[in-house]
Structure formats: structure tokens, C-alpha cells
Amino acid sequence: MSEFKPTNPVIRWIEHRLPIFSFIDHAVGSGYPTPRNLNYWWNYGSLAGIALVIMILTGIMLAMQYTPHQDFAFDSVERIMRDVNYGWLLRYVHMNGSSFFFIVVYIHILRGLYYGSFKEPRELLWIIGVTLLLLMMAASFLGYVLPWGQLSYWAAKVITNMFTAFPIIGEPLVTWLWGGYTVGNPTLNRFYALHYLIPFVIVGVVILHIWALHRFGSSNPVGIEADGPQDKIPFHPYYTVKDLFGLGVFLTLFAALIFFAPNLLGETINYVEANPLVTPAHIVPEWYFLPYYAILRSITFDLWFLSAKLIGVIMMFGSTMILFLVPWLDRSPVRSARFRPWYKWFFWIWVFDVAVLTWVGANPPEPPYLYIGQVGTVWYFAHFLVILPLLSIFEPTKPLPSSIGEPVLKGGGAATAGAAAKPVEKA
């Protein structure tokens, strides 16, 4: 929008030599023209960024107190909780922060699926986003192991054992991952190193994500491209303020969880130190992994030369990987579900299906949960592999508005009074 013209002489001196201020202005400032009709579902991108910063800051502080050794890790976390000044707060923020990070990112992804944000020309933006999800999953899994409680240990053991499902390379691969013959001290050490590394990889990929976003700008609830400057408003101050309001709501809920129910989302058994000789009766992953866990466990039969275990592992990883293909599975020319009367329903049915799988994942793998999980798994994949391609062909879509402004402003917004119309006169 407006050209970046700093008045402060120091900023001008730096800007002339390193145009970093205009870079920031173009990324998240007044220099980023944004569709004028974004709703609150568009808050979750910046919220995810803030969640990442919260996790890195608290994580660095925790790392200063933590000992990555199998004999001391559990006690060092207890020391953080009891002895370190505000250690309890840092840990509870970090621990619950991962849950909030996943809530925010899941909503961000659902928004993209509902409004068709992944469609041409934003496919690569979407793919980078799915990559970020995978990195987040890796980081949260690795971090969950570090307190070295019973679930930490057994989560590490069960998840790494999945790789034994692969023929021939499976066993040596897992030995290599462990640095031993089971999950042990070498495993804890490397998990700690990688847990510290991955967030910074995420920061790098986030920069790619924002870079790709700015190539074509944000999508919007009606899913048509902006016609011209009258359809856009500067990111700052309009959306910085809107995002700040959303952040206020987010932090209020977050604080409520941290101060009133910090262990609500965790499992009590993880406050028992890891014991390699005793598996807890019920192993459940964190809530944000439950749907994948349900899919893993719903495969109880061999198929041809493939073992149930291998199919389960492939399906579990496939359930996330399939997101990479969504831009090519959903080929409907209409982006937004607002104008897709059938997809809108199938979208919510799929969300319900994921919720059911979450519930199944929290329960033991026996009837009736097993059968519900199997139906849910079939539906999960059918949604992507059957329903989306069919909808692309047969769905009667509603007529699209002629411009972003039209639905809210009589006359298409092009002739509206005020600041938004001015660029038109210039053009």
C-alpha cells in the first residue's frame, strides 16, 4: 500500500544500508495489503507465531535448569517445579503451551480446509504449512520424552518401535535411533538435542511460509481474489489490532488453564519416574495425537504380505501426509465452503469424524471402540480420496459474488466513500 517512508533519522540511516524496516513493514505492517473481509478465523496464523515464541522463550529458560541424563532428568524437572524461582510457571506454560499451540494450529488448518485457502496459487504455501505441522509433531513428541516419566519413556518406546514395522531395515534403524538396544540414556540425550534444534528449524520454515503467503496475499472468506486496491486494507493497523484482540482472548484462556488446571490435559502417571521394566496399564498419547493413535490401532488384520503393524504405521503417517495432496484431491474451482453447499456438510462430518477418532484413541483398543475407530478411519481416508474428488466434479456450487466488497457493501464496494476508495481514484 503506502510506500514505507521513515522519518526517524536513525531508522533512515539503517534502512538505507539494510532495508530491514521496509521488509518488516511489507511482512506484517502497513505495507501488507490484506483482504478487507477477513473474519476471526484468520487470527490463528499470527496466534501460532506467538505460541511459537512463547514455547521458544520458556523452553530456553527450562533448558538452563534441566539435566538430560536418565538418572537425573526426572529429578531435575521436579527441582524446576519446586526449587527454581517461578520454575513451576515456566514449566506449566511450556507444557500447556504445546496443547495451545496445537489447538491454534489445528484451527488454522481447519480454516484453510473450509475456505479452500490451499487452492491454486497457494498450494506451496499449504505444503510448507503441512511441513510445519510435521515438525511441530516431532518437536512435541521429543519434548514429551524429556521429563522421563512413565509415559515419557513408554511413548518414546512405542513410537520408535513403529519403525521396526519396516522389513529388513526396521531393527537396525531403531537401534540407530536409540543409540542402544532400548530407549535409554543415549536416546534421552539425542532427543534433547533435537528438541532444542527443531523449533529453530520451524522458525526458518515459518519465514518460508510467510514469504509464500505474501506472494499472493491472504485468502479470504469468500474465496475470490481481490479485484483491486478497494478490496484491501493495510495489515497494520487493521489486522494487527484484530489479532491483538484475539491474542487477549487466547492469553485469558491460556492463563486460566495454567493457573487453575495446569495438569488437566496431562496424565498423572507421568509424575512417576520412568521404569523400563514396567509398562503402565494404559498408554495414551497427548490429546493432540489421539486421532492418529486411533488410526494406528484400528488396523488389526494382515493384508497380503503386509503385517497389521506395518499397515497401521503406514496409515498413521499417511493420515497426516495425505494433507500434502489436498490441493490436488479437491479440484473444485470454488474455494470457499460458503459457496459449496455439499462440501460444507462433508467438511463438518470430517471434523466430527476426527473428534470421534480422538475419543476412540483415548479408550482401550477393544470393542466397541475398535469398530468405531475402524469406521472412523475408513471415513477419514474416504473423505480425502473419494469424497473430495467426487465433489470436485458433481457439486453444484453457488454463484460467487463479483467482488470481495459486494456482499458487505451495496454496489460492489468500488464506489464506496472513504479511504478504501481513494486508491481507485489514483489508479
Partner: protein
């Protein structure tokens, strides 16, 4: 370079149009790849079990205090090893199973050459949990052996998988009897 107006006489060109330069590109790329692999291997291999970890890879166990019907669990390479002094009924149950009933067919004679002693790694072959059934009063599953609570695998009195998602029988570690009551595992 030997670029000349008459490429037919250029010694850098062979009959089929390949040049010495193509050959150089190829060999240089191959050398580069070999060099990269040579550097990558130490980095990758450093994550494999170190010498001190490998050094703990064998253990000796005195079996004399284990009476018939008792079981003990010892550590070998960080993993539990189940040692069970089986009763005649358990041996009979294990040996009378037709191989056709087994997802991973293996005779009890092979798994336990000395029938009263069943020695195996107590790690579920599904995803690595420790099956229950070693201690008195623990659930032993549908076949009277071991039961893995994580994903519901049932093992019989020979430690063979009978029902559930585990693909293989419980592994029998390499071991030998040093004398009648002492074994060396590893």
C-alpha cells in the same frame, strides 16, 4: 582449449559426440558423492550404540533359586529377559499346540531346548511394551502365558503370539548353559 574450426579433428570429441569434459563431469561428480558419503558415514554411525553400550551386551544368571512355577526377570542390554521355570502342565500345553494355530509357527522344542527353562526377551514384538504375566496374580492372557496391555497381544506358555497385533513370537535371546543352573545370555 582445443576448440578448433574443424571439430572432426578435435581430439576432445569421440565418435558418438561425448567429450572429455563429459567424462570429467561424471568422474568429478562421482568422487564428490563418494567423498560426501565418506564424511556422512561417521556422522550417522556416531548415533549407533557406542562401545560402552555394546560392552554391556552379555550377562550371566544363576537359575538355582528359581523353583518350578516361578519366574524371574533380568536385564540384558537394557531390556527385560523373562526366565520361567515351567511346570509340566505348561510344557504340555505349549507342546501340544498344532503349528497351524500359530501366526508365527515355531515349535516349543526349538524355543526351549531344555523344556523346563523358557528364556526370552520380555518385550512385546508389536511396539515394545513389557507384557504382563511374570508376577503372581498378573493377567496372563487367553493362553496362560503373557498378555501385553498396550494393544492387547496374547502369548502362550511358550511365548508365542496367539492373538493380537504383535507380528512375531517373543524373541529368544542367544544364550547357553554354562552348567545345569547357570546361563550366559548374549
Amino acid at each position: 582449449m582445443a576448440e578448433t574450426a574443424n571439430p572432426g579433428t578435435d581430439p576432445g570429441h569421440s565418435e558418438d559426440g561425448e567429450t572429455r569434459r563429459d567424462f570429467l563431469y561424471l568422474t568429478a561428480a562421482a568422487m564428490g558423492l563418494a567423498g560426501t558419503a565418506a564424511v556422512a558415514w561417521p556422522i550417522i554411525d556416531s548415533m549407533n550404540p557406542a562401545a560402552d553400550v555394546r560392552a554391556l551386551a552379555s550377562t550371566e544368571v544363576d537359575l538355582s533359586p528359581i523353583e518350578e512355577g516361578m519366574a524371574i526377570t533380568v536385564l540384558w542390554r537394557g531390556n527385560p529377559v523373562f526366565i520361567r521355570h515351567r511346570t509340566a502342565a505348561e510344557i504340555e500345553a505349549a507342546r501340544s499346540v498344532p503349528l497351524d494355530d500359530l501366526p508365527d509357527p515355531e515349535t516349543d522344542e526349538v524355543r526351549a531346548p531344555r523344556p523346563q527353562w523358557l528364556i526370552m526377551v520380555g518385550v512385546c514384538t508389536h511396539l515394545g511394551c513389557i507384557p504382563k504375566g511374570q508376577r503372581v496374580g498378573e493377567e496372563k492372557g487367553l493362553f496362560g502365558g503373557w498378555f501385553c496391555p498396550c494393544h492387547g497381544s496374547h502369548y502362550d506358555t511358550s511365548g508365542r503370539i496367539r492373538k493380537g497385533p504383535a507380528p512375531r513370537n517373543l524373541d529368544v535371546p542367544p544364550y547357553e548353559f554354562l552348567d545345569d543352573t547357570t546361563i550366559h545370555i548374549g
